[in-house]
Subunit: 357 residues, 4 copies
Amino acid sequence: MTAQAKRRVGILGATGTVGQRLIHMLRNHPYFEVTAVAASDRSEGKRFGDACNWKLPFEMPEAVKDLTLYPSKVETGKPRIDCDIIIASLPGDIALESEGSFAAAGIPVISNSSAFRMPADIPLVVPEINPDHLDVIPTQKKNRGYDKGYIVTNPNCTTIGLVMALAPLQQRFGLEAVMMTSMQAISGAGYPGVASMDILDNVIPHIGGEEEKVEEEPQKILGRFTGAQIECAAFKVSAQCNRVAVQDGHLESVRVKLSKSATVEDLKEVFESFTGLPQELKLPTAPVRPVIVRSEKDRPQPRLDRDAENGMATVIGRISKDTIFDFKFTLISHNTIRGAAGAALLNAELLVAKGLL
Amino acid sequence: MTAQAKRRVGILGATGTVGQRLIHMLRNHPYFEVTAVAASDRSEGKRFGDACNWKLPFEMPEAVKDLTLYPSKVETGKPRIDCDIIIASLPGDIALESEGSFAAAGIPVISNSSAFRMPADIPLVVPEINPDHLDVIPTQKKNRGYDKGYIVTNPNCTTIGLVMALAPLQQRFGLEAVMMTSMQAISGAGYPGVASMDILDNVIPHIGGEEEKVEEEPQKILGRFTGAQIECAAFKVSAQCNRVAVQDGHLESVRVKLSKSATVEDLKEVFESFTGLPQELKLPTAPVRPVIVRSEKDRPQPRLDRDAENGMATVIGRISKDTIFDFKFTLISHNTIRGAAGAALLNAELLVAKGLL
Amino acid sequence: MTAQAKRRVGILGATGTVGQRLIHMLRNHPYFEVTAVAASDRSEGKRFGDACNWKLPFEMPEAVKDLTLYPSKVETGKPRIDCDIIIASLPGDIALESEGSFAAAGIPVISNSSAFRMPADIPLVVPEINPDHLDVIPTQKKNRGYDKGYIVTNPNCTTIGLVMALAPLQQRFGLEAVMMTSMQAISGAGYPGVASMDILDNVIPHIGGEEEKVEEEPQKILGRFTGAQIECAAFKVSAQCNRVAVQDGHLESVRVKLSKSATVEDLKEVFESFTGLPQELKLPTAPVRPVIVRSEKDRPQPRLDRDAENGMATVIGRISKDTIFDFKFTLISHNTIRGAAGAALLNAELLVAKGLL
Amino acid sequence: MTAQAKRRVGILGATGTVGQRLIHMLRNHPYFEVTAVAASDRSEGKRFGDACNWKLPFEMPEAVKDLTLYPSKVETGKPRIDCDIIIASLPGDIALESEGSFAAAGIPVISNSSAFRMPADIPLVVPEINPDHLDVIPTQKKNRGYDKGYIVTNPNCTTIGLVMALAPLQQRFGLEAVMMTSMQAISGAGYPGVASMDILDNVIPHIGGEEEKVEEEPQKILGRFTGAQIECAAFKVSAQCNRVAVQDGHLESVRVKLSKSATVEDLKEVFESFTGLPQELKLPTAPVRPVIVRSEKDRPQPRLDRDAENGMATVIGRISKDTIFDFKFTLISHNTIRGAAGAALLNAELLVAKGLL
């Protein structure tokens, strides 16, 4: 990075579970500083330090305490926040209008929401996997009449752990089909989110809209940019999503059917050697090892493995032959770090490194 | 039942989690009374009420408090317990010798352990599904040189919930393949079992030997008795088993591939209309509805559904089309009731009803 | 009871956590039948079976499913519900106006809320302890201009477990001071209530308004009815209230300073022999043993003891000498049964038995 | 510190919950390096990396993986471990003989166990509170015939959080009496420790020996070294100890009776201004703020506050007037850091700073 003033970041959904993680990750960041925060309408005008019900086991950074909250919702007209980049973690319904308004107003938007993930002219990016999908941005600008603004999205928090495992398999062996059953953390539902009466001594076998997202996002991320648009890969995904009494970290039981034959040792080798552009560029938030393989018979576990590489790694274990598909294994990914705040931040860092910001 | 003195039941593993359930279920039972209890060697000679660390939220039945504990382990020679039937919940290593000794000594044994489940001359029985497999008993006696004694087994606690769902599907549509991912309760590991440091805010993606059992038992239960032996069915099962922070009740995410085409409504109908011999005979422990279908989008749940029909029903929900196999759904079954103590007891009741006891 | 048509019960707050318990406890009740249900304004006109998010591990009683919901809130004018008795579980702010309106309209009100607990002309009744406080009702009617209507209240869910232990001590030894530290269940906050992110792997050392209630209610319950009004007892109570990850059952660590000397054995004896009018009258919901003493060193526990006597008993253990006060002990009481629905129902049964209903 | 070779540390109980914490805290330590590890007899001779069931959410430090385990138990004769200091976390029964053997063999022992805490010639030290108690060491050596060896102990994990709050109160206002009710984390019982069936949806109102320790240790820590021995302070402590479903961090509800009058603001001020020798000496493990006061009505909480100052601070909140004693408040202290590994390590650092090591 050339010496340059830090980019001014505006955060939409700043008081939420993901917003708080992002603010924590952005303290002392070499490229970025948080200069604006936005939350729900009813918080408008309040001091961040007063309005935010801070739930992380770290102190709230001093730098944001005195910022005044803007509303995240922008339906029409020019947004009032002045910054170099927006990172947004908004509910889907609000995201569509608000994020579009910022992009139209000339501000690049990194979006955590599902609103813009699937259109063929919007990149759904995991920097280790498909950084080349950012090349669709000129098409996006043309299609949507954006000038300097554009939208880059990151995947659903359950998708991202899965595609970190699928990418090396697809590259080396080809992918035919994927069955994934998740055990997801309560922080994925935000705050207050899941009622304690619902999850203590219990599992909830339903997370609204989650299975649908996991069944379509991987094919886009692992798809090809053709020069004109992003074409989804052809493998099929089946997802069953469950909520369990875990604070952070989505655990996934996965079976895969590959195009070529392989051994358990082959899988370990491709997982452990997987690396990408963020590692090459040494981006500040990039994990040194994006995928970690553990050989203990009872790992990975949410409590012990979710924070590997500061929550940015996918940890895989229990790799073995499946009786129906080719292989089965278990993986964990931190849902609010790699699955949300960290995913967005790594995308932002990649944009800086590529000169797009 | 004709009026008759109650059968005298001896319980092996009486102080364990399953043994306690069984003792609770046998209080005031119309066919049976507990007359002997056995546990580990170090409890031998102690009063049950003193030696048993009772963990159920009910009072220990008065009738067992003053019984003196025998050792469950019988390696050679004639066992010392005199009773009409043994119900055993023992670790696999002890079960093999001990249960065999009782059968050889002329006492019918109902076994919860995995030691005798898979031999072709031993029936692995779920009374609603394969009561005819009891007809292998004469062959078993001949093979093993038993006189009045014999061994009847019930399935693993994860298998049984699954086969209650698979049986009606197989009967109507034929079964090709089954993928099952479980979220299992801590009571399945007995006491003290799972350490609290391992399961609070966590999931353990490993249960020793469990996946192997679930991948082979369903085919035997849903197999055919040919007149000579039990032939396993041909469908394949893949299992991934996880331990979650739930007190009781194994939740299972299931996908099935059927031989014939069907609709979601067809599945609901065959599940809800499923019934068998225990219902026909009105056995004391038989659930009126062995399979219950719930239509709410977030059911079944362990806490709300595990006790349906006194813990003897399998509750199924979230039935929908799968993107890869034909259907996916979620089921719950109470692991220490339907999955162990209740399974054994229903087998015992069936033996009485069939005149085998 | 003489044969008589069942009293028609209207339930305010019927869809809430306590309302659901009450409906469950009133199925097949010998004195009462639920004929009207009320909940929040936004549920008005809906079918109970559709509007109620039923959270108990029992089936919703058929008899209430088709009842149409009234609004619980009645600010002015005559309420629209026609019934013989109202049992209300409302937030304090709504309770004041609504419950007063029903009483003014001629319908006796059994109130679970804190709104009317402390006025000297309103009885705060635990039937085993102070049934004579009902004699203040004529004064109440005169003071408030009620005709047939009146209000009877039951204590806070943390108070009631405590006073069940204090009453026998006060009667026999006199009470000087009480220090109580609670570990309260999440169901005490209703649904959705406590966020799971707040309580998993955590304790919340604050429950709004709880300490204040526990510090003043016991003195009224253990006070005397003078013929004109209720005079509070003089002992002091100090309370520190915490929320823990327990589904049901408030556990309390208690120290007491008595007026007369006593031994641990004396305490056990007065606890175990404690009984009252509900036991004498054999009221349908009365526990046979209102106070149970357990001698194991690690009891009582929420999971094992909250359901003693169908959740209507207070279970006490760990009675020992204190280094500062006279004695310390631990007690558990089921917060939504003895602490709310069951307390109200037992009061209603007492009113029937006394000819007041 | 003058430049000097690092002291060689031998850890007894190295594979346990506290031992693991200590090893983690000693990675890259400026004064110390771990050169020997010991555990139970059955681990003797094994490689630490193989024998230790590592349960912390951090990687096991490379430096210890290849160390060979010694037995912690030394009953008679000269211990085989050669090092400059022993830090021991042993069960009480083993500690007495083993720790005594090391001291007798000339190696200073920092002990976490209860075996040597109460004798008047052994210092029970919290460096912020009573570093002068180390001056009893010469007496200890004389009494016990030690040459270079000696024993320094740190308090029980529940005591230490409490005395961090009591010390500033005693210094400024004098202490008359203390009532403490704890809600303790499962990690306090070690691994496997508390069975999950016992603590999920439950509280255990019993921790063996804990109440006794908390009722006597504070008076010694806050006592005076007279030049000859340590005299305990005169205030009384009453403790009721409970185990809750929390991974780490002991929460304590406290009431105090002071000798002089004070206000809530006075208490906040003395807590926040409390500091001691470790802060003055800037010992590596010393918290900058040993006591932190939080003003939110629902803090401190285990999950949010246990890691304050890397787990070395006591966090206090909810300070208010009590109805019986003078004040009540709630505090949290990390039981395996400040309560064990960190307490021992800070003592070791103090010994180095004082030239005793």
